[in-house]
């Protein structure tokens, strides 16, 4: 890849709401992240962590600034273009799992590859589920799985298309300590195997300490970057 940075953003701002109720969420973010890095984003509630992740993952369009992610320039893309740009580039794991309740574990993992029109979606989904230790749960629906198992499916779904970048927003927030620990082990293990850049949003300093680089946000700005 000619571009050494998997994330390259400059002067990103995000405002939500209209007129009097307008709130500045992100206030001029500059950030570069190299491929294969593990990075933790810390900060109090309301500091703009999730919003930054939303902008970096193309879930939200910034109000201003330049966003280049995994070789794609998000600037000026509409929502549908961003959805297409995410395919195969970006994987996302959320705190509340957000599995599709009407689909089995296998189907949940296959969906992003089906949406991208890949013919071997189910084979790759099965292999990924096998890799996260759920080879025996392919036909189970989310309600038939424990919280930890659901998050494993979510990790498999995020990694199966082999994205360059994996976002994880409080991935253990809904799990007990033991299960959470196992999920983190799995997350870092799979990251190491797939060589994806891992971008974790967390309140947990212990989790942050497992990442090579740590950022801290406050009031819409990055106030500390361990790399600098």
């Amino acid at each position: 890849m000619s571009d050494p940075y998997v994330i390259d953003v400059a002067n990103v701002t995000l405002s939500l709401g209209a007129r009097a109720a307008r709130v500045e969420i992100l206030r001029g973010i500059d950030l570069r992240v190299e491929a294969g890095e593990t990075l933790a984003l810390l900060g109090p509630s309301g500091s703009g962590k999730s919003s930054l992740m939303a902008v970096l993952s193309g879930m939200e369009r910034p109000t201003g600034g330049v966003v280049r992610v995994a070789g794609a320039d998000f600037t000026g893309m509409n929502e549908d273009a961003l959805a297409r740009a995410r395919r195969g580039r970006i994987g996302i794991v959320l705190q509340a799992f957000h599995l599709l309740p009407t689909m089995t574990a296998l189907e949940n993992v296959a969906v992003p590859m089906e949406l991208a029109g890949e013919g071997d979606a189910f084979d790759r989904a099965a292999a990924e589920l096998e890799a996260v230790g759920l080879g025996h749960r392919l036909g189970h629906y989310p309600v038939q799985l424990s919280g930890g198992e659901q998050q494993r499916v979510a990790i498999a779904r995020a990694l199966a298309p082999r994205p360059a970048l994996l976002f994880a927003d409080e991935p253990t927030g809904n799990l007990d300590a033991a299960t959470g620990g196992a999920i983190l082990d799995l997350l870092f293990e799979r990251q190491a195997e797939t060589k994806a850049t891992l971008f974790v949003i967390t309140h947990d300093p212990a989790l942050a300490s497992r990442c090579r680089r740590v950022l801290e946000m406050s009031d819409g700005r990055i106030v500390r970057d361990s790399a600098s």
Binding site: S50, S57, M59, D80, A83, R86, P101, E107, V111, E114
Partner: protein, 829 residues
């Protein structure tokens, strides 16, 4: 891929789309049912055309038998059967009140087609000589049985049986009395057929299978253009009944369409709340790379699939309506409906269903595609975005499609357009009122009692369904109130208002030479009776201006006087109460070329003015007359009103009889009827009250059909209410649980909810009463031109039932929220 994802997503069950399915099912069932029933009855008319007409071709003429030349023309085409029919009075020979009958004298060939059958216990298979077969209603009315003796005209007849099946009954149109059938010898014995008496001679032809009845009809009309013949063939038997059924079918279809529009609100609500529940999944799919287009197509496929299933189920249910009606209504419908499937009606209903689904589902579907993936991070708190222009245009296009389809397929497009405009106007008005109600409720002073405050707030808070409920339930209730106002008004007119100002009897067939003797008899039986008699002849209009009626493809709308033969009279001076609005009445001693005075309303409809000409055929002779003046007729008086009055001298040589009215106190009516029947057996004295009862019965049957179609609107409204309750279930459980936590008892919470639904029901009743009464007033006063006299008891009862139902369903739907246990519910919320 889209279908695969759509089907996968549907595994969660169809519960969320139940409202969509129920509403579409109801609307399509109503439309498919009405369409199939109309088609089935019309098919029955066509299939049984020969039996209904009594032959392949029928020629009818007034007050005369066929001439030799005419008879020769009929006989050339095939076998001919002659039948005479007229109105007459029948009375038990042993004494008793006489009753009006539709008397039929048939020959040995009757019927060419179909089966004439008497009930079990008959003394013979058909009447001969001094025998008569009677309709079951006459047996009941006169209290006579098989074997009893009846006096009809100058003859005495033994009842040999009660008629079970009379195949050609329908083709005679609306009957004022039950049937009495005898043979030609019997008819001669009555002495009723005299020069001038009002009878119809019908000649029915049985033609070879290879002959074309339409061609024969055309040739007969061509060969005898001025004979006043009414020629019909088996392909178009009972055209009046067909026209009536087509229009009734159209009206019921339009009522059904209104119900479908109400159901459409349910479709919109159902789809909207279903997609609201899917916001999380939609946002996740977008996060995983689905575009808005993919989301739109996935849910379009789902909703389309459920809509198609609901429409198919509605079509299946609607297709069974003809059989169900045939089974349930029996003789109440004029022709037994065919039992087949009527694809045209089903395709049309499916088309309406699909368009309604598109019109109401497109906007919520288009909104669903705008759900942002970032909403996953904001806990789903996100305002609904405006639907894109193309969705609004598509919904509007589908709505226009429904209107276009309704107008295009209607036998009378102008009426359909007017009805649709009125229905849309009502919906727009209800929407405005709904907004006004929410606005007002939100600005009322806040009550101190918390539960009352909450009940009020539930009706106007953000996300409240009050607006949709007012439109959906309001439309159904308004429709029912309108029907109740019209029906109760007509019943009141028929029961009291009309009889109070109408005469007591119509008098038919007084021989012109017996007028003075008749007056004397009447004066003896009812000294204070007021008698009006006028000369009368049957005439058929054959041309207006230079245009022959037979050559007109379509008669002008509203010019009903052109349709069939009618009574005409002549007079030197204007009859009492005449109001001439154009032209002038002729001089009392006028002796010039024929002039005519015409009903203004019919004249306008036919495009006729003073100075134009009108040609009628009387007793086989054509008379052309110039229109001298136009009159306004008050039909509400129920007197003898002649649409056409000629100047004197035109019919001097014609044999004629007198007809008119007799007005007297009710207590004299029986003596009058018996005296006239005794001294003038050939004269028919028809009690107005009996006629009104027949009309009321017919109106009752029509009202039942309209109510059945309208009931779908109420059911659809209820479905919308249930859907609204389901949509607000979460909020209600939350409110209920919090109130319990704060110390409210279940009784108090229930009271609060009862108050909410009572308020809603009250508002709806008020709206329906106002709008329904307004619409009913318009129909009664402006369209029917009757007095405004609704039965408020019946109207309020209808309204009360509707409002009560709303309250009960609302409370029943709210009960589960009441039963929620706080700890459990809070965990689940």
């Amino acid at each position: 891929m889209i279908l695969r994802l759509a089907l996968r997503d549907l595994r969660g069950g169809l519960a969320g789309l139940r409202l969509l399915a129920a509403c579409l099912f109801l609307g399509v069932t109503a439309l498919a049912g009405v369409g199939s029933l109309t088609a089935a009855v019309l098919a029955g008319l066509s299939d049984q055309g020969q039996a209904i007409l009594g032959g392949d071709v029928q020629v009818e003429m007034n007050q005369r038998p066929a001439s030799d030349e005419e008879l020769a023309a009929f006989t050339r085409e095939g076998e001919v059967s002659r039948l005479i029919r007229m109105r007459a009075m029948a009375a038990p020979a042993a004494g008793g009140d006489p009753a009006l009958v539709e008397l039929k004298g048939v020959d040995g060939r009757y019927p060419f087609y179909g089966e004439f059958r008497l009930r079990d216990g008959a003394l013979a298979d058909r009447p001969r000589g001094n025998q008569v077969a009677i309709g079951p209603e006459l047996a009941d009315k006169l209290g006579v049985n098989v074997g009893s003796e009846l006096r009809i005209g100058a003859g005495a007849f033994r009842v040999i049986g009660v008629i079970e099946r009379e195949p050609d009954r329908v083709s005679q149109g609306f009957a004022l009395g039950p049937s009495a059938m005898m043979d030609q010898a019997g008819l001669d014995a009555t002495g009723l057929i005299r020069p001038g008496s009002l009878f119809i001679a019908a000649y029915r032809m049985k033609i070879p299978a290879s002959a074309d009845p339409a061609e024969i009809t055309r040739l007969l009309q061509r060969d005898f253009p001025s004979a006043g013949l009414k020629v019909e063939d088996r392909l178009n038997a009972a055209p009046g009944t067909r026209r009536f059924l087509e229009r009734l079918g159209q009206f019921l279809t339009l009522v059904g369409l209104s119900a479908l529009v109400v159901a459409g609100i349910g479709v919109g609500n159902g789809v909207g709340s279903y997609l609201d529940n899917k916001r999380g999944a939609i946002a996740m799919l977008k996060t995983l790379g689905a575009t808005s287009g993919t989301i739109f197509r996935i849910y379009l496929a789902q909703i389309g699939l459920v809509a198609i299933l609901a429409i198919l189920a509605g079509l299946a249910a609607g297709a069974t309506v003809p059989s169900l009606v045939a089974w349930a209504a029996g003789d109440a419908i004029p022709v037994p409906p065919g039992s087949g499937i009527y694809p045209d009606a089903l395709i049309l209903a499916a088309g309406y269903g699909l368009l309604a689904a598109l019109a109401f589902a497109l906007v919520p579907l288009a909104r669903a595609r705008t759900v942002a993936s970032a909403s996953l991070l904001r806990g789903g708190v996100e305002a609904n975005k405006r639907a894109p222009w193309w969705a609004l245009a598509g919904a509007l296009g589908a709505g226009v499609g429904i209107v276009a389809l309704a107008v295009w397929t209607a036998p009378t497009p102008a009426f359909a357009l007017g009805f649709v405009a009125a229905a849309l106007g009502l919906l727009a008005l209800l929407s405005l009122l709904a907004a006004a109600i929410r606005w007002t409720l939100a600005r009322l002073p806040r009550p101190r009692a918390p539960l009352v405050r909450m009940a009020l707030a539930n009706l106007h808070r953000p996300g409240a369904q009050t607006g949709r409920l007012v439109v959906a339930l309001g439309a159904g209730l308004t429709l029912f109130t309108t029907l109740a106002v019209i029906e109760s008004n007509l019943s009141a007119q028929i029961r009291s208002t009309i009889p109070a100002r109408a005469p007591s009897f119509f008098i038919l067939d007084v021989p012109s030479g017996d007028a003075e003797r008749f007056r004397a008899t009447a004066a003896r039986a009812a000294p204070d009776a007021e008698l009006h008699l006028m000369p009368s002849l049957r005439a058929t209009i054959t041309a207006i201006g230079a245009r022959r009626i037979a050559d007109m493809a379509e008669l002008p709308e509203g010019a009903w006087f052109l349709r069939s033969d009618r009574n005409v009279t002549f007079a030197a001076t204007p009859p009492e109460g005449t109001r001439i609005i154009e032209g002038e009445w002729w001089a009392p001693d006028y002796d010039g070329p024929p002039l005519v005075s015409l009903d203004a309303e019919n004249a306008r409809a036919a495009g006729l003015n003073v100075g134009d000409t009108l040609t009628v055929s009387v007793l086989g002779r054509e008379v052309e007359a110039q229109i001298a003046n136009l009159r306004e007729i008050d039909w509400g008086r129920l007197g003898i009103n002649f649409v056409i009055i000629f100047s004197p001298g035109v019919f001097d040589a014609a044999p004629l009889s007198l007809m008119g009215t007799a007005t007297m106190p009710t207590e004299r009516e029986q003596a009058f009827a018996r005296a006239i029947n005794r001294d003038f057996p050939s004269v028919s004295a028809v009690r107005i009250q009996d006629v009104l009862t027949s009309v009321a019965d017919l109106m009752g049957q029509l009202a039942a059909a309209i109510r059945a179609a309208g009931a779908v609107a109420i059911l659809a409204g209820i479905a919308v209410l249930i859907g609204a309750l389901a949509a607000s279930r979460r909020a209600r459980v939350y409110d209920s649980v919090l109130l319990k936590l704060l110390g409210a008892t279940r009784g108090r919470i229930l009271w609060g909810q009862a108050l909410e639904f009572a308020l809603l029901a009250f508002i709806l009743s008020l709206l329906a009463l106002g709008l329904g009464t307004g619409a009913g007033w318009y129909v009664v006063v402006n369209l029917f031109e009757l007095e405004w006299a609704p039965d408020w008891g019946a109207v309020l009862l209808t309204l009360g039932a509707g409002a009560g139902l709303t309250l009960v369903i609302g409370l029943a739907g709210a009960l589960p929220a009441l039963a929620a246990r706080p700890a459990q519910a809070l965990r689940a919320l």
